[in-house]
Structures are given as C-alpha cells and as structure tokens.
C-alpha cells in the first residue's frame, strides 16, 4: 500500500511539472506584449524597454521559466503583471466567490433532488412521477447559462427580488453576498438537480424491490416510514457517487455562470488575465487547476484501492 501511495505521489508531481512546462511554453507562442498593453498606443520605445525590464520580460525564456518554477516549488505563484499583487492573493480572492457558489449549488441541487426523486418513486407511474420526470428532462436539456438568463428575466427584471449580477464582496456581510450568489447557484443547481432526481428515483425503486423492505412492510410499517427509514438511506450510496462525479462539472459550469452574472470568480480572473496577457496569472491559475484535477483523480484512485482489497498491480 505504501509503495502504491508513493508511486501515486510521484506521478502527481511529474504530471504537474509537465503541465507547468506545457503551459509556459504555449504562452510564449501567443502574440501580445503585456508591457505594450499597459502603455497603449502612445508608448515610447524607451518607456516600453524600462517597463519590460521592470516586469522581467527582458530575461531569456529559460531564466524566466526557472524563476517561475522555483517559485512554484516553494508555493509562490509570483506577482501579477497588471494588478501588481501576488497571484496567490488574487486566486484566494476569486476562490472566495467560486467555491461558495459551487458549494451552494451542490446543496441546492441535493435539497431539490432528494424529495423530488423520493416523490417520483413513491408515486411511480402516476401524475407526480410524470411531473418529476418531465422536470428532469427539461432540466437536463437546458444549459445552465440559459436557465441563468431566464432567472434574471423573472427575478431581477420583473420581480426585482435579486440583483441581475455582480458581487458586493464578503466584506459587506454574509446576507448581501449570499443574496448575490443565490440566483447563479440556482442556475447551476437546476441541471444538476434534474440528473440527481432521476438517479434518486431509480435507486429508491431498486431498493424498494428488495427483501428487507418487504419484511418491513409485512411487519406493518407505513409507506412513508418505509421510504424514509429504509429505502432512502440505501439509495443514498449511488446518489452520492453521482454527486461526486458532478463536482468537476460544477466548477466548469461555474465559469460560464460567472460570466452571465458577472461574478468575480476564478473563471473570470483567468478570462481577464488572458486578455491582458498577464502571463503570470494565467500560468498560476492553469497549474492550480491541473493540480486540482490530478489530486481529485488520485484521491478517487486511492479510495478505490482502499475499498478493493485485491493486490495492486503496476497497471494503475
């Protein structure tokens, strides 16, 4: 087991290191001088040279890569060229929007999906079931940005209950911040909830067919009690598996929804940094995302390995 963990760790480090080389190399090929972008169309050649040297852009490519990689190894992501602030600080600031957004929509989708799935299973083949299945079909087919636009039309433009976008920052208090995040979270949660409701319905129906349920019913337990005390807990295992799979989709979906609601999340930071040729920020964010994906994969692998007692081959 220890050898397996060490192997996994080594491959993790190598993957992230390779990602850093690829990201750095690709960005060198993209045209656009960040110093020129800052100085604009009246830039004088001497001013441009001074700024380039202040930004360290006059150094050879290899030197710049080594400096950046050495910083990465120490956990230092460098300083943004345009914002003149540490990249880690910028990322942390944006994660404070993207993470709560993803978590909130995860919670919302669960809260929406479980009762709907249960209801559909309990009313199998009847009106309630059809209604839930219809909602699920609709939810799966509509992309979250479209749902976002519909929500803005209804709740912001017509009812004026929520702002149409933007984020006041956590500094003004949890209430206003959550108020700004609720609509985007809902837009993200609806497609997730649709999938989850279907999975819940199927899982509950499967459990309901099992022997111990029949025993419980034979002992005189009521329908609702059977559903809640026996069927639901057993159905939660497949539901949780699907929920786990959805997390990476949530992060990707958050980037799209952030743009519709103009939320200052990680996705928009990356988008802006590319436009401003803030290479240090782009490199840092992309490497962090690579690290996140590799880590999640590794954790899944390790969890599987722990759950499966058979000896580990070299093919993992």
């Amino acid at each position: 087991m220890l050898a397996f963990l060490l192997r996994r760790l080594a491959s993790l480090i190598v993957t992230v290191w390779l990602a850093s080389i690829v990201v750095f190399a690709v960005l060198q090929l993209v045209p656009g001088d960040p110093a020129l972008l800052m100085l604009g169309v009246n830039a004088q050649p001497d001013t441009l040279a001074v700024l380039r040297s202040q930004m360290g852009l006059d150094q050879p490519i290899l030197t710049r890569y080594l400096q950046w990689a050495a910083g990465l190894a120490r956990g230092d992501l460098g300083v943004s060229l345009t914002y003149a602030r540490p990249v880690a600080e910028l990322v942390a600031e944006r994660l404070a929007v993207t993470l709560p957004l993803a978590l909130l929509s995860l919670a919302l989708s669960t809260v929406l999906a479980l009762p709907l799935g249960l209801l559909a299973a309990a009313r199998r083949g009847r009106g309630g079931d059809w209604a839930v299945l219809g909602f699920a079909q609709l939810g799966v087919s509509m992309p979250s940005f479209w749902i976002a636009i519909l929500l803005i039309l209804l709740f912001s433009l017509t009812l004026h209950w929520f702002p149409a976008g933007g984020f006041p920052g956590w500094g003004v208090g949890v209430g206003p911040a959550l108020h700004a995040l609720l609509l985007p979270a809902l837009a993200l949660a609806i497609p997730e909830a649709a999938i989850l409701a279907r999975v819940t319905r199927t899982a509950v129906l499967d459990t309901l067919a099992e022997d111990h349920i029949r025993t419980a019913r034979a002992k005189g337990m009521g329908r609702v009690a059977v559903l809640l005390r026996h069927a639901l807990p057993n159905a939660l295992i497949p539901v949780a598996t699907v929920l786990g799979l959805q997390i990476s989709f949530l992060v990707a979906g958050a980037v799209v929804v952030e743009n519709v609601f103009t939320l200052p999340g990680l996705g928009r930071l990356l988008y802006q940094a590319i436009g401003q040729r803030d290479l240090i920020v782009v490199q840092g964010v992309v490497v962090l995302l690579a690290l996140f994906v590799v880590l999640v994969n590794a954790l899944v692998d390790i969890a599987c390995a722990l759950a499966d007692p058979r000896p580990k081959g070299g093919a993992s």
């Binding site: 972008l37 700024l51 003149a84 602030r85 149409a164 103009t262």
Partner: protein, 497 residues
C-alpha cells in the same frame, strides 16, 4: 388569541415605522451613485498605465492634476488655483490651492508637484504618456504654494497635457502604492475594491474645494452587453457610460424611467492605412478608398445612427474644426476610375485586421463590403487586442485596420516618424512644429485647420466617424457628462433631483 393580539400590534407598528422611514427616505434625494463601465481598470494609478478605465474611475474624482478639463473641454483650475505663462511660452508658474491635502492627511504642496513631474520624466519612468513631460527642463519650488516649470522648447499643448490624468499630482509617500490604494487630493477618496466587480469611492470630508453632493460612488464593471442591459433594467446601476449596445437604445428611450444622452468622445474612428505598403503608398488608391466608403450607411449600421461623420483627424466639437466630409463624397464610379488610373483596373486583394471592439468588428464587415463594390477584396482578420498592439501598432505589419484613436487632440501623431500609419510629410511636420511654437488660440486654430486639410487631401487614413459617448441613466440624475473631452467619469458635479 390573547398572545396573537400584541404580536399583531407589534407587527403593525413595525410596518408603519417601515413605511414612514421609506417615505422620509424618498423625500430626501439619494446621495449614492452606481456607475456601470464596460472594462475594469487593471489598477488605479493614472500615472502608470494607458488603460482608459483607470482614468474613468480616478480622474477628477480621486486624483487632481494641476489643471482640469471640464465637461465642455475647457481648462479649469485643478490643484492649481491659477497659472500664468511667460511671453516666450517657456516658463509656467502654477499657484496651488492653499489648503489642499492628500487623502492620507499630508499637505499637497509644490514639492509634490516637483516630485510628480520629475518622476514622470525620469529615465526609469513608466508613464504611458511620457512624451507629455519631455519638454520640461526643470521644476522649481520657490515656496510651498508655487511651482515654476521651465520648458526647453515651446509646447502649445503643455497646459492641456498637464490637465491629463497622466499628470495627476501624487505624493512621494504614496506613489509606490497608488495602484492598489490610491491616495490623491480629489473630492472623493478610495474606499474599497472588490476585484473583478466594483470600486467604491466615498466623499472626502477634508476636501478644501467645492464639496460633491454624492457621498458614495460605486463603479461596477460589466463587460457583457446583455448583462449591461439587465443591470440597468433591474435597477442595479444608475448610469452606464460609454454604453455601446446601441441596438438597445430605442427601448431605453421609450422608457420614462431612463434618460439617454448621446454626446461625442475624442475618439476618431479611422480605417488606418499602411501608407508605406503597396498599393497604399499611392495617394490615388487612398482617395479611391475614401470615395468607396459610404459613411452614412456605416454610421447607421454600426452606431444605429448615433454618430457624426468626420473628414479628417479632428473632432467636430472642438474649435479649429474644419468640415472636410464633402471632400470625397460616396462615389463608387469615381473610386473605380481612380483605381484604374493607379494601375488597378481589376482592383486588388488586401487584408483588413479588426480588433475586438464592436464598432471595429461590425464596422469592418461593412467597410469590407463597400471596398468590394469597387474591386478591393479585403480579407477580414479578427484579432485580440494584445495581438493587435503587437503586430499592427508596434510591428507595423498590416495593410488596413479599423480603430478609434481616443487620445484628445492627438493630431500630432501624424508627425511621428515611427507611427504605424507610416505617413511622411515635410509639410505636416513643419505645421506641427509651428503649432508647438504658437500660443495664440486663433493662430493655433488656423494651423489645426491647415493640418486637417493636408491629412484629408493626402487621404492618409479612411476618416469615418467620431465614436459617440452614450450614457444611459435613471431619470432624475443630473450632472453626468454628455461629451467626453477627456477619458473620465467626473462625478464631482452629479446629484439626484
């Protein structure tokens, strides 16, 4: 029942109180303002970046130059309450406001002026408009309220340049940190910045000049056109400046809750032409293109009619403007004849590179279609802003491109030998030098007129239209600028009725 009654009374009392407070609240005019902008500034130091958004937030609100440009484009006192120019145009004497202070409490005196100007012209300066400061020979400070600037050569635009955001007066104590925590002398001071979303300014209680009516101004950054419209309609923002979703304007005009103001910016939108490259080195080809473009159709198609045609590189709202829009009327037959005369009876192939702004992308399609009518087959090449700057502006590797030149009074770019138009004219350079030596406004305007005529005759670029300054705002808001004589959202005179 007995418990329900007091609760009900309590609720009723609370409701009455709520209604009462909301009534008194509506009786008093609001003192806060939320302004929407398309782009977020990368930082907040106007002396260290060219991005227009920096000045749109900071100019006149947070930072003050020695002089300011007002809503009509006139020079008015800024940090200096008065100034004088010597006969030979070489010595400028500025007298500062006696009680001016920076937001951190330190006094704003002539030493800060000297520090600012010396910093901007130093060898290691990264001021985006360093050329504005190049004529300065020295800055003297005979007393704390007086700064004397001596130039090494006359510069007719010196005062105008000293009124730009790039010449905002900064203090040695805070200059290094102004990007994140701007400290100026203006009527508003920095409160907070939610990166990616908004910058909040609050009234500076210690301001020594005319106090603004607003006590809080929030600048919100919304780049998506649909989100801009939604934010306005939802009431999230009170005004959106440089609004460019022109197709949405009729809706706002028909809604009594909004006011739409259309003014002018300093942005001459041109079909920039590489004058050094064949076949554009032939003036007949350039004139043919001028005849091939129907500016009326272009303005209708790109700006939904909200714009003014130009015939040279000068805004119609400025003194000294000469109307040259009739020089090359839309005439495809004439264009074809000129092309044939230049040796291109069957036209030619070329490329038209387009940066991201909608006026360029949308306008470029129309221009290409118009050029195709006379046989000039322009391949459209959309590029990002960074790539545009690198290849077109710095590399001068292009045939045609479309861009708005937004720097105020920037006709002198045609005198720069290494500018990306690759235009060379001894006569224009001579006119520009004479302009620099001239202080008298009437003479200056006459010279501006001659410059405009020369550029139009040479058809250096395709002169298309002025980029409009469109502001959509809530009814009841007064004091927002209609025109944009400088890149600024000066809210110091804004209030609610």
């Amino acid at each position: 029942m007995s418990t329900a009654k007091p609760r009900f009374t309590l609720a009723a009392a609370a409701a009455v109180a709520l209604v009462a407070t909301s009534l008194t609240a509506t009786a008093q005019p609001r003192t806060d303002l939320v302004v929407g902008m398309a782009l977020e500034p990368p930082h907040l130091d106007p002396t260290a970046g060219a991005a227009g958004a920096i000045k749109e937030v900071t100019y006149a609100n947070l930072f003050e130059p020695l002089l300011r440009v007002d809503a009509d484009g006139k020079l008015v006192p800024g940090l200096a309450e008065r100034w004088s120019v010597s006969e030979d145009g070489l010595t400028y004497r500025f007298t500062l406001r006696p009680n001016a202070k920076f937001h951190d409490g330190t006094s704003a005196d002539s030493a800060d002026v000297k520090f600012t100007l010396d910093r901007a012209r130093a060898a290691d300066s990264v001021n985006a408009q360093k050329a504005y400061f190049a004529p300065i020979a020295q800055v003297e400070t005979p007393d704390p309220r007086t700064a004397v600037v001596t130039l090494s050569r006359p510069d007719g635009l010196f005062l105008f340049h000293m009124a730009s955001g790039d010449a905002a007066i900064v203090a040695p104590e805070s200059a290094a940190t102004n990007k994140q925590k701007p400290v100026g002398t203006g009527p508003f001071k920095f409160d907070r910045w939610v990166a990616g979303d908004r910058v909040v300014l609050v009234r500076n209680p210690d301001y020594d000049g005319a106090k603004p009516k607003l006590d809080r101004v929030t600048f919100r950054f919304i780049s998506d056109p649909a989100a801009q419209v939604a934010a306005l309609k939802a009431g999230d923002i009170d005004a959106f400046t440089l609004f460019s979703t022109y197709e949405a304007l009729p809706e706002f005009r028909n809604d009594p809750k909004f006011t739409v103001m259309v003014g002018s910016t300093e942005g001459e939108t041109i079909l920039s032409t590489n004058n050094a490259r064949k076949p554009f080195d032939d003036v007949r080809v350039r004139r043919a293109m001028a005849h091939a473009i129907d500016r009326k159709t272009l303005i209708d198609g790109v700006l939904y009619g909200n714009g003014v045609a130009i015939g040279s590189h000068f805004p119609p709202h400025r003194e000294g403007y000469v109307d040259l829009t009739g020089l090359y009327p839309y005439d495809p037959a004439k264009a074809k004849a000129l092309l044939a005369e230049a040796g291109y009876p069957n036209g030619f192939d070329t490329t038209l590179r387009l940066p991201p702004p909608p006026y360029a992308r949308r306008g470029g399609e129309l221009v290409a279609a118009m050029l195709a009518e006379v046989g000039i087959r322009a391949k459209i090449e959309p590029v990002e802003w960074a790539a545009w700057l690198e290849k077109t502006f710095k590399g001068k590797d292009y045939d045609l491109t479309m861009i708005a030149h937004t720097e105020p009074l920037d006709i002198d770019i045609y005198a720069r030998p290494d500018y990306y138009f690759n235009y060379r004219s001894e006569r224009f350079n001579a006119l520009n030098e004479e302009l620099n030596r001239t202080q008298d406004p009437a003479k200056r305007n006459a010279l501006y007129g001659e410059e405009q005529k020369l550029l139009a005759e040479d058809a250096v670029n395709g002169f298309l239209f002025m980029l409009p300054s469109v502001t959509v705002q809530k009814a009841g808001l007064t004091g927002m600028w209609v025109n944009r004589p400088v890149q600024a959202n000066d809210v110091t005179g804004v209030s609610w009725k």
